[in-house]
């Protein structure tokens, strides 16, 4: 029987992987955005799990909003990346360190 814990551990694992993805990746900034999407996905899964097992619809409503916001976020993220590309002619993360110290 698949219990709530199974789902939660699964989504936790997903979350940890996606977080690792953010700092393992040293080159491609787009992968960062994808990792972020994964992160939000795991959060969403969490909400849905709770919503399902406690038989409460509000968790799903939250997921709905998160999805909407995530879409907006990726739009803006991609826009920023494009802008960055225009300035640097590259989107490699290891080249973005003009601001430091």
């Amino acid at each position: 029987m698949i219990t709530m814990t199974h789902y939660l551990v699964f989504s936790l694992l997903l979350f940890c992987i996606s977080i690792a993805g953010i700092f393992i990746n040293r080159k491609n900034i787009l992968l960062l955005l994808m990792s972020i999407e994964l992160m939000l996905l795991s959060v969403n899964t969490n909400f849905i799990v709770f919503s399902h097992f406690s038989n409460d619809i509000t968790g799903q409503v939250f997921v709905f909003f998160i999805l909407a916001v995530a879409a907006a976020e990726s739009a803006i993220g991609l826009a920023i990346i494009v802008a960055l590309y225009r300035v640097k002619n590259s989107i490699e993360i290891n080249l973005i360190n003009k601001l430091k110290g």
């Binding site: 977080i19 953010i22 700092f23 393992i24 990746n25 040293r26 960062l32 993360i93 290891n94 973005i96 360190n97 003009k98 601001l99 430091k100 110290g101």
Partner: protein
């Protein structure tokens, strides 16, 4: 009477202020005359007081006229304590001061800073009077420092002369060494009696249980306090080893040497010990110490004078030597005897100095005796006065010095102890030495041929110079006959010391037949042969004597000792300043710590790379750490 007593210091202070702060409207001569007049008035007042004191036997004037500080139990006043002792001292001070005032009108007339000079000597006299009149230790100390200050100012009177400004600094610093101990002594006395007043102290002296007091360095409380007080006196009265300032102080104008560095200020130490005699009486250790210091000063400083060529320095060393006699007498508790010598010495030493001044003026500020000689014919009056002074100092029978010195020797001999016997012998040899150097000076300066070029231009000084000399000469000749007064002089709370004295004539005859006379005669001949006839002896060229001579000429290296220690102090100071203060405290801690923090911050700054993934990593890492800590606490 009280009013008169109040007026004496006030007159002098006024004189000092008026002359010192007046504008150019007040001319030199009128300033001098004004100042002298005021001193003269003070002198008259003091003689009235002296007269009164002697008229009413056993009258002691003791009053405070001003409350300087009063905090709860602590009361310090300015007042006076006039007994015979201080009345005589007052008179002597004012007399010498007056004489010097008059003398200076002429002597200093060429100087630009004439008025400053007069202001100083008036201030000096004021401080000295404050000291003499004092009825408590603090007032004594104030006067004590005051005279030291004026001495400092006057030695440096010719402030452009490097040697003068060196000498005055030296004088002040060495006096300050004494003052440090002096004030410690005062503090000790205060801690014991809770008062600075002589009366309170002396009254309570018997109530103190000296046995149960703390002792320091193996000395009893009272021993130490008196020792400290005496160290103060040592500096002021130029005793070994704190004498080094006095010869150098001859850089000041000559009248000053007469007034301050011969007659009055340097005897303040003697006066102080006499004043505090009830205390000193009780301490054996300190008395022995005083005796040893006094007699060695008397002998060894006299020796230096034999080889000195500067006329003023010779007299200065002679002063130190004579002060040694006085101090030695203090050591056997013969306070009045010592005071008697102080009294006579004041006159003849002032006389000698003023004569020297006259000579120096005549020779256009030449002080080197090797450039003098045969001045007898050109300066007859000076010669006679100088002769009287010399006779007096060597203790020629019937001059004042004869009485006072013989009395010291007598008393010394009467005191049955080993130390005093040794001291007696030292003083006796000292007497011989005195004769030699005094006559040497006389012979070299006034006899023989003139060695400094043309003799013709030299002429006797004006009457303003000569009159004081004559006056002092008279005092030098006759003041010794007051011996009875001093033998019978009671000191406040101390009373009389039993001195073996049987009258004038027996004293004179006894004195003439004493070993001192042998010293006198031997000395005379030695000096005559050596310096008047200038005979050469092979013995004098032998290795030992030359070595001895050069040893004495080094002045026992005391000067070097002080120069060394002052240089050492400066070195330590700059070392401390650079290494410890700037190096360690400031460099290592005060500036070092911020520097280290700054370095740390630079390192931290270089650690933050600006890479996004590092940021994210740090983010997660911190979260993991926080979770870890909390889990560790929970589980």
């Amino acid at each position: 009477m009280e009013l008169l007593l109040l007026f004496i210091p006030l007159l002098l202070l006024t004189s000092s202020l008026i002359v010192g702060l007046s504008s150019n409207n007040l001319g030199k001569i009128s300033a001098g005359i004004l100042s002298s007049t005021l001193v003269f008035v003070a002198l008259i007042f003091s003689s009235i007081i002296l007269f009164n004191i002697y008229k009413h036997e056993d009258q002691i004037l003791y009053e405070n006229f001003y409350n300087w500080i009063s905090i709860s139990s602590l009361e310090i006043g300015i007042g006076y304590l006039i007994d015979k002792f201080s009345a005589v001292m007052l008179f002597v001070v004012l007399l010498i001061s007056f004489v010097v005032h008059v003398y200076s009108i002429s002597y200093m007339s060429e100087e630009k800073d004439f008025k400053r000079f007069f202001s100083y000597i008036a201030l000096f006299t004021f401080s000295m009077i404050l000291l003499v009149m004092s009825n408590n230790l603090i007032q004594l100390f104030i006067g004590w420092e005051g005279v030291g200050l004026v001495s400092y100012l006057l030695i440096g009177f010719f402030y452009k002369k490097e040697s003068a400004i060196k000498a005055n600094l030296k004088a002040f610093l060495i006096n300050r060494i004494g003052d440090m101990f002096f004030i410690l002594g005062i503090a000790m006395i205060y801690a014991l009696f809770d008062s600075f007043d002589y009366r309170t102290i002396f009254i309570n002296i018997n109530k103190v249980d000296f046995e149960n007091l703390d002792s320091y360095f193996g000395l009893s409380y009272l021993d130490l306090s008196c020792l400290f007080l005496f160290i103060g006196a040592m500096a002021k009265s130029a005793q070994i080893p704190l004498h080094v300032w006095l010869p150098d102080s001859m850089e000041g104008p000559t009248p000053i040497s007469a007034l301050i560095h011969a007659a009055t200020m340097v005897t303040a130490g003697i006066f102080m010990v006499g004043r505090l005699s009830p205390l000193f009486e009780l301490t054996d250790f300190t008395n022995s110490f005083i005796l040893i210091i006094g007699s060695s000063t008397a002998l060894f400083m006299g020796l230096i004078a034999i080889y000195e060529n500067d006329i003023k320095r010779v007299i200065a060393y002679s002063t130190i030597s004579q002060l040694g006699y006085m101090v030695a007498a203090l050591g056997i508790s013969a306070y009045t005897v010592s005071f008697f010598h102080l009294f006579t010495h004041a006159f003849f030493k002032a006389l000698l100095f003023l004569c020297a001044g006259s000579i120096i003026m005549s020779l256009h500020h030449n002080q080197d005796i090797t450039k003098m000689g045969g001045l007898r014919s050109k300066l007859p009056v000076t010669y006679i006065c100088f002769l009287i002074g010399t006779l007096s100092i060597i203790g020629f029978p019937l001059t004042s010095g004869f009485f006072s010195k013989d009395l010291i020797l007598e008393v010394m001999l009467d005191n049955n102890s080993t130390i005093s016997f040794v001291s007696y012998n030292m003083l006796l040899i000292g007497a011989l030495v005195t004769v030699i150097y005094s006559l040497r000076l006389l012979f070299i300066v006034f006899h023989g041929d003139f060695r400094g070029g043309k003799l013709s231009s030299i002429k006797e000084q004006s009457m303003i110079i000569l009159l004081p000399l004559i006056l002092l000469a008279i005092f030098s000749l006759f003041s010794g006959y007051l011996i009875k007064t001093f033998v019978d002089m009671p000191i406040y709370f101390y009373g009389l010391k039993d001195i073996h004295y049987e009258g004038m004539l027996p004293f004179i005859s006894h004195g003439i037949l004493s070993p001192a006379s042998i010293a006198l005669i031997t000395g005379f001949f030695a000096a005559k042969i050596l310096y008047k006839d200038e005979r050469k002896f092979k013995m004098l060229n032998s290795a030992i004597t030359i070595k001895l001579k050069s040893f004495i000429q080094t002045k026992y290296k005391f000067d070097e000792l002080f120069i060394y220690s002052s240089n050492k102090t400066k070195k330590i100071s700059s070392l401390l300043a650079s290494k410890f203060d700037i190096g360690l405290i400031d460099g290592f801690i005060v500036n070092g710590l911020p520097k280290k923090i700054n370095k740390l911050s630079q390192i931290l700054k270089s650690l933050s790379s600006g890479y996004l993934y590092h940021y994210a990593f740090l983010f997660v890492f911190s979260i993991v750490v926080i979770f870890g800590i909390i889990l560790a606490r929970i589980l």
